[in-house]
Amino acid sequence: MKKLALLSSLIVLCLGFAVAAPQTEISLAYPVAVDAPITAMLKGWAQDYMAANPNVKVTLVFSGGYPDVKTAVQTAIQGGAKAPTLAVMLATDVYDLVNAKYVDSLDDLVAQTPDGAAFVKDFLPAYMGNSYYKDKLWSLPFQRSAVVLYYNADLFAASKLRPPRSWDEMAKDAQALTVDGGKTRWGIEIPTENPYWTFQPLAIGAGKNVYTDDITVDFNAREVIDAVQFYIDLSQKYKATPAGVQSSWGTSTQNFAAGKTAMIIHTTGSLAGILKSAKFKVGVMAVPGRKAGTLASVTGGGNLYLTAGHTADERKAAFDFARFLLDPSRVADFSRATGYIPNRFAAQKTAIYKDWLASVPQAADAVAALAAAQPELATQNLNAVKTVFNKYLQSAFNASMSATEAMNAAQKESDQALADYK
C-alpha cells in the first residue's frame, strides 16, 4: 500500500510539473502618474493577454513620465539587471537609445511574423518619422499626440469672437477674454516648465521648425526668435497670459475646465480628461500661425521600444504582446479613453472609433490638426540639447535675457553639444 501511495504521488507530482509549463516573463514600462485612469485599462489588457497566453507572464511597471522610464531603462542595463522588456519612451529618444545600444531593432521580429510588413505599413507616416535610424526599425507608435489649441467655444460665442486664425487674432482674443488682470480669468495659458514642445508650434507657425536634422538645430533662426518674442508679448504687451515661466502642465487643464483660462495650448492626450471635466463646449484646433489662415502643430508622444538584453523567447513574447496592444480595436479604445490620436489606419476604420467620432466632434478636429503638424525636436544628444533649449526659452520668457540673446546662446551651446556627432 505504501509503495502504491508513493508511486501515485510521484506520478501526480510529475504531471503537475508537466502541466505547469515554464513561463516566459515579460514586462512593460509605462510612463504615467501613479494615479492615472489609464493604468486600469492597461492592467485589463495585460490580464486579457495572459488569459489567452498562459505561458507568458506580463508585469506592468509604472514610472512618472517619459524621462523616468528612460532613466530607469538606462540605469537597469548599466546596473547589469534586465530592463523592462518593452518600454514606452519618447519617439524622439531613438538616437540616444540606439547609440548607447539600449534597444533592439524590430526588423527580425517583423520578418518572422506572417503579416509583419503590412502591420508596420498600417501606421500613420507622420508617426513613423522617428522609428527608423541607420536603416533599421526601432520602435512602433504607441501613444502619439499633437499639440493643439483648446478654446472655450461657449465663451467665444458669448463674446462674439471667432476662433483665432492668426497670431494677431489669437493675441487680441486672449486680451479681450482676460478678466481682472488674470485674477478671474486669463486669456490663454501655455505650460512652460518644459517649454520646447508647446513652443514648437509657435516657431512652425512663424515659418520654421526649430531643427533641420539630427545634428542641426536652428534656434537662432529669425522665425524662431520672432516666435519667442510673440510668447513674451502675450504677457508683456497683451497681458493675456501670466508672466514668466509657469509650472502648469497639470494645472492648466484644470484651470481651463474650471473656466479660469479661455484658451490653453496642450496635448491631444488631454482631450478626454478635459471633455470630462469641462461644463462648456470645448473647441479644438491646430495652433494658428503668424499669417492669417495658416495653422501649425507638432507631433509628440511615446513609442513602444524593445530593450536590449533579452532572450529570444522573451523578445518573441514581447513583440507578440506589442501586436496585441496595437490591435486596431485596442488602439481605437485607447484613443477614445484618452484623446490620443489613433496611430493606425485600421484603427480609424473600427466601429469603436467611428462611434466616438460621431459623439465627440473634437476628436476629428484633433486628427485634422495632425495635418499641420511637423516633427518634434529630435537630435543626437537629445537630453543635452533639450536642456539647453529649455533653459534659454525660460530665460527669455522670464525676461532675464532678450529673445535674440537667449536664442543665440541656445544655438551656440547646442552646437557644442552636437559637435561630437558631426
Binding site: P31, V34, D35, S63, G64, D68, T75, G79, W249, S270
Partner: protein, 274 residues
C-alpha cells in the same frame, strides 16, 4: 520681579514660533484626510466638514507601502548590525593595543568621515553592479557596513573605560572576545545608542543612493517609493493623495522618535562631533 512678564513674553514668542514650525506638517496631515472630491481653494484651509480616509486607501492601493516598509526595515537593520559588528571589533583593537601602523590605519578609516558616500555614488554604483548586487537590499546596504563614525565613537568610549576595570580584566586572564563582550561593550551603552539611532535616522531617510541602485519595487525603500507620487504627469497635483503617501512614509520613524526622544537627541549631538 521683572522676570514674570519676560517669561510670559518668551512663552508667547515660543508658542508662535513652534506653531509656525509645525504648520507645514500639520497642514499636510489635514490635507491627507480631505475628501478627494472637495477641491482646494483660496481661503479653504481645513478639510471641510467631512473627514475621509479615501486618500490613504488609494495611496496604499497604488504603491506597496507595506513592502517598502519591510525593505526599509531590512536595509536599516542589516546596516546597523553590520556596523556594530565591524566597528566594535575595530574600536576594540584600536583602543586596547598599540600596534605597527595603527595610526595610519585609523586615519584611512577616518577618511570616510570626510567624504560623504553620496559624493561617490557613481563609482559605488559601478562596484555594486560588479558584485552583481544591483536592485537588491544587500546592494543598498553593503557600502555602509564599515563605519568610521561608529569606530571613532566606540574607540572614544572604550578608551574612557576606568583603568581599574581594565586592569582587573587583564589580571583575570580574559580572552579578547570575553573582554569585549562582557566589559567594554556593556560600558559603552551611550555610544552604542548614539550609533544605532544616528544610523537609523540617516539610513531610514536616505533617498538618492537607494534610488540609484534599485529599480524595482522588490528592493525599494519608503523614500524612493514616495517620490513616485510627486511625478504628476498629466493629471496635475493630487495633494490629498500625496499628503497621505507622505504621512504613511513619515509616521513610523516619527513615532519611534517620540518614544525615544532623549536618546535620539543624544545621538544627534554625538553625530555632530563629525
Amino acid at each position: 520681579m521683572r522676570a514674570k512678564p519676560l517669561a510670559a513674553a518668551r512663552f508667547a514668542v515660543l508658542a508662535a514660533l513652534a506653531a509656525l514650525m509645525l504648520t507645514p506638517l500639520v497642514w499636510a496631515l489635514l490635507a491627507s484626510f480631505r475628501p478627494p472630491d472637495v477641491p482646494f481653494a483660496l481661503g479653504s484651509v481645513f478639510f471641510a466638514s467631512r473627514f475621509s480616509l479615501a486618500n490613504y486607501a488609494k495611496a496604499l492601493a497604488l504603491a506597496p507601502f507595506a513592502h517598502y516598509f519591510l525593505n526599509t526595515v531590512l536595509q536599516v537593520t542589516t546596516i546597523i548590525c553590520a556596523q556594530l559588528f565591524t566597528a566594535s571589533l575595530a574600536a576594540y583593537a584600536f583602543a586596547r593595543w598599540r600596534f605597527p601602523v595603527d595610526r595610519l590605519l585609523f586615519t584611512v578609516i577616518l577618511l570616510q568621515m570626510m567624504i560623504p558616500t553620496a559624493a561617490l555614488l557613481v563609482q559605488n554604483f559601478s562596484t555594486i553592479r560588479f558584485l552583481g548586487l544591483y536592485d537588491t537590499i544587500p546592494g543598498i546596504a553593503l557600502p555602509f557596513f564599515g563605519s568610521a563614525f561608529a569606530t571613532f565613537l566606540l574607540r572614544q568610549s572604550f578608551l574612557g573605560l576606568p583603568r581599574d576595570l581594565a586592569d582587573a580584566a587583564a589580571i583575570d586572564g580574559c580572552r579578547w572576545d570575553q573582554e569585549l563582550w562582557h566589559l567594554y561593550l556593556p560600558n559603552a551603552k551611550p555610544a552604542l545608542a548614539a550609533i544605532v539611532l544616528s544610523s537609523l535616522s540617516f539610513h531610514w531617510n536616505d533617498f538618492l543612493w537607494p534610488l540609484v541602485v534599485t529599480q524595482s519595487d522588490a528592493a525599494r525603500p519608503l523614500t524612493a517609493g514616495l517620490v513616485r507620487f510627486t511625478q504628476m504627469g498629466e493629471i496635475g497635483a493630487q495633494w490629498g493623495l500625496l499628503s497621505a503617501a507622505t504621512m504613511i512614509v513619515t509616521v513610523p520613524l516619527f513615532i519611534v522618535f517620540l518614544v525615544f526622544q532623549r536618546q535620539f537627541v543624544e545621538g544627534y549631538l554625538a553625530s555632530g562631533l563629525k
